[in-house]
Point group: C2
């Protein structure tokens, strides 16, 4: 799948295929940096997931903020029910909270991501979200 | 004008009329806090301007990031040409740069705002953008 096959689901650029992090994702994603000034300490990206794509369970030592801007997505913290993300929804991820996010099974999804406390923020990538756990998540929010 | 008269121009909540800062704005605006966790150090708001509304010239000692999400807006740094903001546009405001932002004369406008470096960020409000300077700005981007 190349960039020309990414549908327009928001007004934000989708960038390039996110190959650097592909090993931490099940499925394909695209990454667009939206800011450049380091001194603002709030790097901003647009992340786009193909249908069914989600990232592995992971943590951010400095936290992260997700801003849904297109399509339909999913967000889950360990031990909690999955949350459906629609455009306009904002999710605050506290430091060190284990979580994953991605697209619904039949929808593309784009969220902006703010890297919080970037000077010290480290991401720890953990195990993939299995097909079974992803299926259970989609049933929790009746998203199929 | 009450909240029921604010048109839907994005998927984000517009919040309440921004009375606390009204003295620094020419026209009416609405403010919706979108985050709560102080430890993330990136407070996020949705700011909505009625047509013609703009804030005074001002500076942020820690900078700010604007993310256009609905309608048509304007952004100008002192001594530079005005910039038209459409949904999907992101503006990085470096610390201490004198600037203003607001709606186009005949359009509502909403942008998200990230308060950068919030622990030390101070906003200094300066003179209003005069009707004449606002009119010149709108002509610069042929937005009438």
């Amino acid at each position: 799948m190349n960039n020309s096959e990414v549908p327009k689901i928001s007004e934000f650029p989708f960038g390039n295929e996110n190959k650097e992090y592909q090993r931490y994702f099940s499925g394909k994603s695209w990454l667009a940096p939206l800011t450049k000034l380091n001194q603002l300490n709030a790097p901003l990206f647009n992340v786009t997931f193909e249908p069914g794509c989600r990232n592995n369970w992971h943590t951010h030592s400095g936290g992260q903020i997700l801003i849904a801007v297109g399509g339909v997505g999913l967000y889950q913290e360990k031990g909690k029910k999955v949350i459906r993300m629609n455009p306009g929804d904002v999710i605050e991820i506290a430091p060190d909270v284990k979580h994953w996010h991605g697209a619904a099974p039949n929808d593309w999804f784009s969220h902006l991501a703010i890297i919080c406390n970037p000077e010290t923020n480290e991401t720890t990538w953990l195990e993939p979200v299995t097909d079974q756990d992803y299926q259970i998540a989609t049933h929790q929010v009746d998203i199929l």
